[in-house]
């Protein structure tokens, strides 16, 4: 399943862990922005690593949220 991450900008504090783990998916300046897509497994792991828990993951095709 191809998935898209969604950033909660009020929670994102630009730790940068997401970009460090997947620089092809996330870019962190003042807040994180999404620049790519990934697999559910990959993106959920990154969402779990975010200390601020600012990342949700949705199915790219259906828009259904798969995490959290």
């Amino acid at each position: 399943m191809t998935c898209l991450p969604i950033i909660d900008e009020s929670a994102c504090l630009a730790h940068g862990d997401c970009e460090a783990l997947a620089p092809d998916v996330f870019r962190v300046d003042d807040v994180a922005t999404v620049i790519g897509i990934g697999t559910a497994e990959q993106l959920i792991a990154i969402a779990q690593a975010c200390p601020a828990c600012a990342i949700s993951v949705v199915d790219e095709a259906t828009g259904e949220q798969v995490y959290p």
Binding site: A11, D30, C50, P51, C53, A54, S56, Y67, P68
Partner: protein, 424 residues
């Protein structure tokens, strides 16, 4: 005013200072920004100092927050090895001090001043630093502690079961050292967690081979060669060749003594303004209002430094602070991620989702007081944090949010008498 030397002068070069600069430039502020960095380095991140820096021997670089070029690219002037010595708020003059000196080393006139001088580790009398005893605040401290942990093979004694002490205890166990964690209160993190939850953390450390001595203080220390003998309040002794003093921090605001601000953390409004016009405070040196508690509280957490540095920058450019969110801190110990969002006062009620005593140690503790959601302690439950924030914020806003997560797969069931198991 005669032309100032800085439109925004930031005393202190840490996380709050860095985020203040970033927000100023992002909001189009074009004035001159000068940052006084007491340490001889650009602003850097402290959480790795008690985690990866200790456990990864190869990493010697300071975990700077931005690459060196960022400052020139954004017109931010860093004065390295320069600290604030005295403030004259009426004349908007800051007297400087060279890091290794005590005399004055020039003055800067500012339009706006941000007090972001952070905090310093509390020292315990009778324990000389260097040699056996360490503190952990700076990158240099972390490298020295790492060397001691790797080069010696005796016991590490950690004084203070706060976040820093516990993370170092965990890192040291990972390096194969024997560790004794000594805490004066009845449980770890006693000011942040009620005893039931604090005790779970003590048990986590014991399960990983840390000797945890609660309700114990150090009465006397003697040095025998390169070993310290600590005599505890119950008469027992602990011998250690490395001692970490991790007994909390105090705001670094003594330099403000003649200015009418302080002592202690500097009180501010929600935008970071202090009692003096043109003077703001952010980070460990500040005491912001906590809308969830209804009073000002100091915070030494990472998130607070970011939010407060950002709020001050917004105030300087004329924007209101962002909407408040429940405060949060996180800690990584023995491979577990612990997150506390909101508050967990001593008189709270706790509803558990998951089993803290099971081997995985994964659970969520939903915290209420008089029936109102006020906090959550999450252990390896990052999936629950967004929900916890909303649950607390909604209650604060005066609604009683039903913690429904029926639309989402793999989400926790909210607290409730009949539903305390995590959804499959």
């Amino acid at each position: 005013m005669t032309r100032p030397d800085a439109d925004v002068l930031i005393a202190g070069g840490g996380l709050a200072a860095q985020r203040c600069c970033e927000t100023l430039r992002r909001q189009g502020f074009g004035g001159r920004i000068v940052v006084l960095c007491e340490e001889p380095t650009a602003p850097y991140d402290r959480p790795p100092l008690s985690k990866a820096v200790l456990s990864d021997e190869r990493e010697r670089r300071t975990p700077t927050l931005k690459p060196a070029e960022w400052y020139a690219e954004h017109g931010v002037e860093l004065l390295l090895g320069v600290a604030a010595r005295e403030l004259d708020p009426a004349r908007r003059l800051l007297t400087l001090r060279e890091r290794r000196g005590t005399g004055a080393a020039g003055r800067l006139r500012y339009r706006e001043l941000v007090i972001a001088t952070g905090s310093r580790p509390r020292r315990l009398p009778g324990l000389e630093l260097g040699g056996v005893a360490h503190e952990l605040r700076t990158h240099a401290d972390a490298l020295a502690l790492r060397a001691a942990l790797r080069e010696r093979d005796g016991r590490l004694a950690v004084l203070g079961a706060g976040l820093v002490g516990m993370e170092v205890a965990a890192a040291a166990r990972g390096l194969g050292r024997e560790v004794t964690l000594i805490e004066a209160a009845a449980t770890p993190l006693a000011r942040a967690l009620p005893p039931a939850l604090g005790y779970w953390i003590a048990r986590l450390h014991r399960e990983h081979g840390v000797e945890v001595r609660l309700a114990s203080s150090v009465e006397r220390v003697s040095l025998r060669g390169s070993t310290a003998r600590l005599e505890l309040s119950d008469g027992s002794t602990v011998d250690a060749d490395t001692v970490l003093v991790a007994a909390g921090t105090a705001p670094a605001t003594e330099w403000l003594a003649t200015s009418g601000l302080g002592p202690g953390a500097i009180p501010t409004d929600a935008a970071g303004r202090t009692a003096h016009p043109g003077v703001y405070a952010a980070g460990d040196a500040a005491r912001f209002p906590d809308p969830y508690l209804g009073e000002r509280v100091p915070s030494q957490h990472w998130e607070a430094a970011v939010r407060q540095g950002t709020a001050v920058a917004r105030a300087i450019v004329g924007l209101a602070p962002a909407e408040p969110v429940p405060p949060m801190f996180w800690s990584d110990q023995h491979g577990h991620r612990i997150q506390l969002v909101g508050h967990a006062p001593p008189d709270c009620e706790i509803e558990l989702d998951g089993n803290p005593t099971a081997g995985s140690g994964q659970f969520a503790a939903w915290i209420t007081r008089a029936g109102r959601p006020i906090g959550a302690l999450l252990v390896d439950r990052p999936d629950a944090l967004q929900h916890a924030r909303q649950w607390i914020a909604a209650a604060h806003a005066g609604h009683t949010a039903q913690p429904t997560t029926a639309n989402h797969r793999n989400t926790p069931a909210g607290p409730g008498p009949s539903d305390t198991r995590r959804a499959a």
